[in-house]
Symmetry: C2
């Protein structure tokens, strides 16, 4: 069965993370990194991003070893996007200590010609005008998924609305879909978001799992109830990457393959948070994912018999 | 197949509810009411509670029509327990406006002799010393489940610890199991709670579903993603009632029947919140529950095939 390539655009970063387990400097991060590593477990990946002179070449080599095409990663004069954050003891919130945009401030995604025919596209959480620009550089993809955040919802509503009209899958946090639509109830919020363009809305709820709303109704995938979470950074991005990576292995995007992709996405996110930064993703295999899929099946199994 | 009776002890109340949909006075409520109505969908129920002179006899008649034995409901001089609360516009929080204990202040559960052999016991959220007293009046039940709350966790830790040692199933909110154990991570908190007595801990997470932790590992049941929630009052109590009511239909409490009971419990809670107070529960049938079980199956279905 042919596996399609996945195009991922987003940030690449060097993060300083203050976690309950310690402080970690210059951790390779960014939405494109996490998404690409997760997706590469299943499919060839093409990344569009920008890094500075300080980004280690060895890290790009790690990506290439996982069948990630880095020819769309531009290296520019200046520093890589840097984010510093501190997590609370129970990892339920974090504060940003510092943000240095560096070369990311001038990011203007230019796709190599070889990327133009990529059938699955993930628009990571960047300015909606840049998401739009990427869409203009690809030819009729089968599936376009996009993430966004409060910053663009509040600051760039018109540009975001234009992107929403062009995508089929919105992957968004629960709080953000509420902000986007003004609806608190998640089912109503998803219904409203779907009116704005995407035929399906996938609501990420962190440790509470994810809910898909589409023309088939609702689908729910739990998060795995881990006893040891080390670092939540990139959980949502590895979720989105796993989603598209799995869909790239499917000859067709059916209601069932879509649901399966969400369980795969949850499995990827659950592995990602078990180690600092992108470490666990660097060695993630289909076998690992399969083991967690078995755990998910056990987690929700209640038999098929009638109850009464 | 024989269905066993269920014994339920808890509060019976008259509530004033300020909901986004309106203000409703003298709504019949209390943990025993909600739990008993949900359980009675599946099994005969025996209630131990206290009401005042102001509690409508017609309401007790509603209970009896659903095969709920009210001979353990004592009617005393004075007023029924009254609670007044106001919910926020999105129903995510509520504030207590007034509490009048009334006859509930002197509640001293006395079981009719006919209740002593009830095989399934639900100790609703009352003073742990009263929960203990009920346990002393029943003979070797097959299953004892108990609920509790922050007020008893903080105020009566010794009495609560004694109850925990005598029950097999703790049904508790996420925030409360954190408070009880000092562990934020829900899997760790449940593990710690299990060390204190109950072999299984069922963590209620409201709209995020419920997690069971027992010797089999973890089981997760989602809450149904309703678009219209009218009144969350009693959701946790109808959940617990549905749980025991369904288990009462089972010849044995197996890992699978337990998991099924949690899905039934979620179905009962999802119906309960669709109307003000106990209204929807008054007419709830097994057929209704079956319909929602089908919806739950569809909600989490992702096929049984291997993914890779």
């Amino acid at each position: 069965m042919a596996t399609f390539p996945v195009l991922i655009v987003g940030s690449m970063a060097l993060d300083d993370l203050e976690l309950p387990s310690g402080t970690f400097k210059n951790v390779v991060g960014g939405s494109a990194t996490y998404s690409a590593l997760a997706a590469s477990t299943f499919a060839p990946v093409r990344v569009v991003a920008v890094v500075g002179q300080d980004f280690p070449e060895a890290e790009l080599e790690h990506l290439r070893k996982r069948n990630i095409d880095t020819s769309g990663i531009e290296r520019r004069e200046g520093n890589t996007f840097r984010w510093a954050g501190r997590y609370s003891a129970n990892l339920t919130w974090r504060e940003t200590l510092d943000t240095q945009l560096g070369v990311f401030a001038g990011f203007d995604p230019k796709l190599p010609a070889s990327y133009a025919d990529t059938p699955l596209v993930l628009l990571g959480n960047i300015h909606p005008a840049l998401q739009q620009s990427v869409l203009e550089q690809v030819r009729q993809p089968r599936l376009v998924a996009a993430d966004t955040m409060n910053f663009w919802i509040e600051g760039e509503p018109a540009a975001l609305a234009a992107v929403l009209r062009k995508i089929d899958t919105l992957v968004i946090n629960e709080e953000e879909v509420r902000l986007l639509t003004g609806e608190h109830n998640v089912a109503k919020a998803a219904r409203e978001a779907r009116k704005r363009g995407p035929r399906r809305v996938l609501v990420k709820r962190g440790e509470y799992g994810a809910l898909l709303f589409d023309e088939q109704g609702a689908f729910f995938a739990p998060a795995y109830p881990l006893e040891e979470v080390v670092d939540p950074t990139g959980a949502g991005d590895s979720f989105a990457g796993g989603l598209l990576g799995y869909l790239a292995t499917q000859p067709e995007i059916t209601p069932l393959s879509l649901r399966r992709s969400i369980v795969v996405a949850s499995a990827c996110a659950s592995y990602n948070v078990e180690a600092v930064g992108h470490r666990r993703l660097l060695t993630l295999t289909k076998n690992d994912v399969n083991r967690r899929l078995d755990a998910f099946r056990a987690l929700i199994h209640f038999g098929n018999e009638l109850f009464f």
